[in-house]
């Protein structure tokens, strides 16, 4: 956030992404990362926030070994974005429909180093790689009424930051974190109950479960005649419970004051307008457009629009080949998705580019390949990164549509399977399909299937006629 070190802290060896600034060495000074500020403004705009013209950073002071300077540079009272909202579908089980969930603010700060307390007796280790990595915090208003609504909010927020390219949004990697505050109150009461803060949830599912658990726990406390204590509780995944994290340390007074090493920022309306123009069409809108304009099913449209790279790949393929949207969707969500998932690859890392997929579909459309052969070619394309036309040529996979060639295979199949022929003559039409399968096998799958079936049927009819002519 304030230095030039790469932010790939998870992948790197400990303490290899450091410099005097993020180490907090004497004499080091912070310098603002412009793109991080722009990302935060973009996120604020995507969340319908107001972007104040004047914003600043502040020092949040507290001592801890993973906080290198003894203070964290954050934003206190004048954050980058304020007063926004997200629209969720609502928890229909509670009779709640589509409505806005308020976003209090979006602000920017630096992350702290990572402590490892479990490596040995009497000491902890600190990996400073993570120190100084930009953190963008989105604080919602207490408008959600169930764990389901929290899930909807998080899913939508996740989609938005991914679409913006602001975050990869991976909770397991720590790129997308969630702390939740939850309270309960009697139905009809306007006053919010005492809240607890729940931390250490590392997946959307964990958030859902933790909130459900906490609501039940708080209810039991109250029903037993007690009062909910305002505290921080950690979610324990293995036991599916929250436990109190109250420590003996007294609560910190952070003694916030404006960061004197950084000038305040003035983000004028023209700059905000420039950034607003960078906003993409987000997932819900894109999915709606796929459904309306391309007649895709809601299910398929949501999947394709789910990530910006997927949606872009889809639309690029459509423009490269004036194709049937449903056909492209099937290939992307079926065979291509299967191959990518096996490797845990994202679509931008696909060796099958939109151009190549489009070319493959063209080969199916002009009859060169059967659908099943095309699947084989796709696998080869994925494995080698090759062009479909080259693969077809090299492997001689072109569909055989020469009648003569297929007739030879038909004759061979009929000669080799007298029982099937007899079955057909006695009325079992399915035998024709069996023989067609044999023809496909004999032609290494390259016979044009419809043609093969027709020729098999013709050949069998001929047998029938001959048979009936026999004395």
């Amino acid at each position: 956030m304030f230095c030039g070190c790469p932010a790939d802290y998870q992948a790197a060896e400990p303490n290899t992404r450091t410099c005097p600034v993020c180490l907090g060495l004497p004499g080091a000074l912070p310098v603002i990362n412009r793109r991080a500020v722009e990302y935060t403004v973009l996120t604020g705009l995507a969340l319908n926030c107001r972007i104040p013209e004047f914003t600043k950073f502040d020092r949040k002071n507290y001592p801890y070994p993973d906080l290198m300077k003894g203070y964290q540079i954050s934003q206190y009272d004048l954050p980058l974005a304020l007063d926004g909202f997200l629209e969720i579908d609502g928890d229909t089980q509670l009779g709640l429909g589509r409505r806005r969930i308020g976003v209090e603010r979006v602000h920017l700060e630096e992350d702290v180093a990572k402590s490892y307390d479990d490596r040995g007796e009497g000491y902890s280790l600190v990996d400073v790689n993570r120190s100084g990595v930009p953190l963008m915090e989105v604080v919602s208003k207490p408008d959600m009424r169930s764990a389901e609504e929290a899930r909807q909010y998080l899913t939508l927020l996740h989609s938005i930051v991914q679409y913006l390219g602001v975050s990869t949004g991976n909770m397991q990697d720590g790129n997308f974190r969630c702390d939740a505050n939850v309270s309960i109150r009697p139905v009809g009461s306007q006053i919010l109950g005492t809240r607890t803060e729940v931390k250490n949830m590392n997946s959307f599912r964990a958030v859902y479960q933790a909130l459900e658990y906490e609501v039940v726990r708080q209810r039991e406390v109250i029903e037993d005649g007690g009062a909910v204590v305002q505290e921080t509780r950690g979610w324990i995944e293995e036991r599916e419970v929250t436990v109190s994290q109250r420590s003996k340390e007294y609560a910190h007074d952070y003694r916030y004051f404006p960061e004197p090493d950084l000038p305040p920022l003035r983000i004028g309306p023209e700059r905000v307008a420039e950034l607003a123009a960078e906003l993409p069409e987000f997932a819900p809108q894109r999915s709606a457009r796929f459904q309306a304009d391309l007649a895709l099913s809601g299910y398929d449209a949501d999947l394709l629009a789910g990530s910006r790279s997927m949606a872009n790949y889809f639309e690029t393929t459509l423009t490269l080949r004036d194709a049937d949207a449903a056909e492209v969707a099937n290939w992307m969500l079926g065979d291509l998705a299967r191959l990518l998932n096996q490797d845990h690859r994202e679509i931008d890392a696909s060796p099958v580019t939109p151009q190549r997929l489009a070319d493959l579909l063209a080969l199916v459309a002009d009859g060169t390949l059967s659908t099943s052969l095309a699947k084989t070619v796709l696998e080869e394309m994925y494995a080698t990164g090759g062009e479909p036309a080259d693969i077809v040529r090299e492997q001689g996979l072109g569909q055989i549509s020469d009648t003569g060639a297929i007739e030879a295979a038909v004759a061979e199949a009929i000669a080799a399977n007298p029982k099937a022929v007899a079955d057909y003559i006695s009325g079992k039409d399915t035998a024709a399909r069996f023989l067609m399968g044999q023809v496909m096998r004999l032609t290494k799958g390259q016979a044009q299937p419809e043609l093969a079936l027709r020729l098999v049927q013709e050949g069998l009819e001929l047998q029938k006629t001959r048979g009936s002519l026999e004395p």
Binding site: V31, M68, G70, D253, R255, Y256, F257, P263
Partner: protein, 357 residues
């Protein structure tokens, strides 16, 4: 830290003019070294007067640049919004050379000014005719050493003789600068020094107990009494419930001090005043009374509050001890100040005086 260099981690530095006396502070070592001829020039840092005051106590020339003129990257931070590095040397011409080398924009310091650096040596024309020189009445109030008053007044007369037009001006917020400084500087300092906990580098007190106890002992033994005083002052001024009354208020007063100077610089091109109300005092004389020590800086502090450039120029003696003339200019007027000092030094010999050691 401090106004006498008696708070040094090593030992007090002695004034070459009288080794029983302080050299001033906090850059007393730098000023003493130049004064004694041990170094041709030195760098100091000035947060509330720490270049100018020791320069005046030691009879050498010192310059505090405009805030942001010289990069703070690499400087152990004390008060981030006030610190500036500057030269201490035998005369203005040398200061001009050194400033030329250290001034300029640094992309690693976000408070560093982008303005181009002029040729400071070329600015030393030796001509100040027509210069409008303001003399702020509040800087000549009661409590000033008579010898200091006499030397500074004589220096101003000398500048008039060299062509400057002298005008009386007023800076009414001068009386608030001391309190303002002693809230803002310690506050920023308390945060800047938080990193010295013995965990990562530097002095680390080993012994029994857990990490927190070790941190406390490191700071207890590692920091001197004046530093601890300022950390505590600062933490208090920033604390919940007191922030508005102290830190916030002090920053508002700071704006007023800045406006005072801006207003005055519409009428004059520079200001002339004493650097300190006193000359070098005996070692140990003020160490028991921190506030009495702080009063030594009343004339230098306002300059840091406003981020202005200022110089200390040797202008005479009082009871055998050097007196410094303070020249203050608007933002980025280092060239003008250096020329005034240089012109004065062409016509006088005070800066050539050397202590007997």
């Amino acid at each position: 830290m401090g106004s006498s260099t008696e708070n040094s981690a090593f030992f007090p530095t002695r004034n070459p003019w009288d080794t029983g006396r302080v050299p001033g502070g906090s850059s007393g070592g730098s000023a003493a070294a130049v004064s004694a001829g041990a170094a041709p020039f030195a760098l100091g840092t000035d947060t509330g007067g720490s270049i100018r005051q020791p320069a005046s106590f030691c009879g050498v020339t010192g310059l505090k640049p405009t805030y942001g003129r010289v990069s703070r990257y690499g400087l152990v931070a004390y008060a981030s919004s006030l610190d500036q590095v500057g030269p201490i040397a035998r005369d203005a011409a040398d200061c001009a050379l050194i400033l030329q080398s250290i001034a300029g924009h640094d992309s690693r310091d976000a408070t560093s000014l982008p303005d181009a650096v002029p040729d400071y040596s070329a600015a030393l024309t030796g001509d100040i005719s027509g210069l409008r020189l303001g003399v702020p009445s509040e800087y000549f109030a009661e409590g000033m050493d008579a010898g200091v008053r006499a030397a500074v007044t004589a220096a101003i007369d000398q500048l008039a003789a060299l062509g400057a037009e002298i005008r009386e001006v007023s800076l009414p917020t001068t009386q608030y600068a001391l309190a303002c400084y002693y809230i803002i500087a310690p506050s920023e300092c308390s945060a800047n020094l938080a990193r010295y906990d013995g965990v990562k580098y530097g002095y680390s007190h080993q012994g029994d107990g857990d990490m927190w106890e070790a941190m406390e002992r490191t700071r207890q033994h590692g920091f001197g009494p004046e530093v601890k005083r300022r950390i505590m002052l600062g933490a208090f001024a920033l604390s919940s419930g007191y922030y508005d009354a102290y830190y916030h208020k002090a920053q508002q007063v700071r704006t007023l001090i800045r406006q005072d100077f801006a207003h005055v610089f519409e009428e004059v091109d520079a200001l002339a005043a004493p650097v300190s109300p006193v000359v070098a005092f005996p070692i140990g004389e003020r160490t028991d009374d921190p506030v009495r020590m702080y009063l030594v800086d009343v004339y230098t502090l306002p300059v840091n509050m406003a981020g202005l450039p200022a110089m200390s120029v040797p202008c005479g003696f009082s009871n055998g001890l050097p007196v410094g003339l303070q020249l203050i200019g608007p933002h980025l007027s280092e060239d003008r100040l250096l020329n005034i000092a240089h012109t004065y030094q062409q016509a006088t010999e005070w800066h050539r005086e050397r202590p007997g050691i």
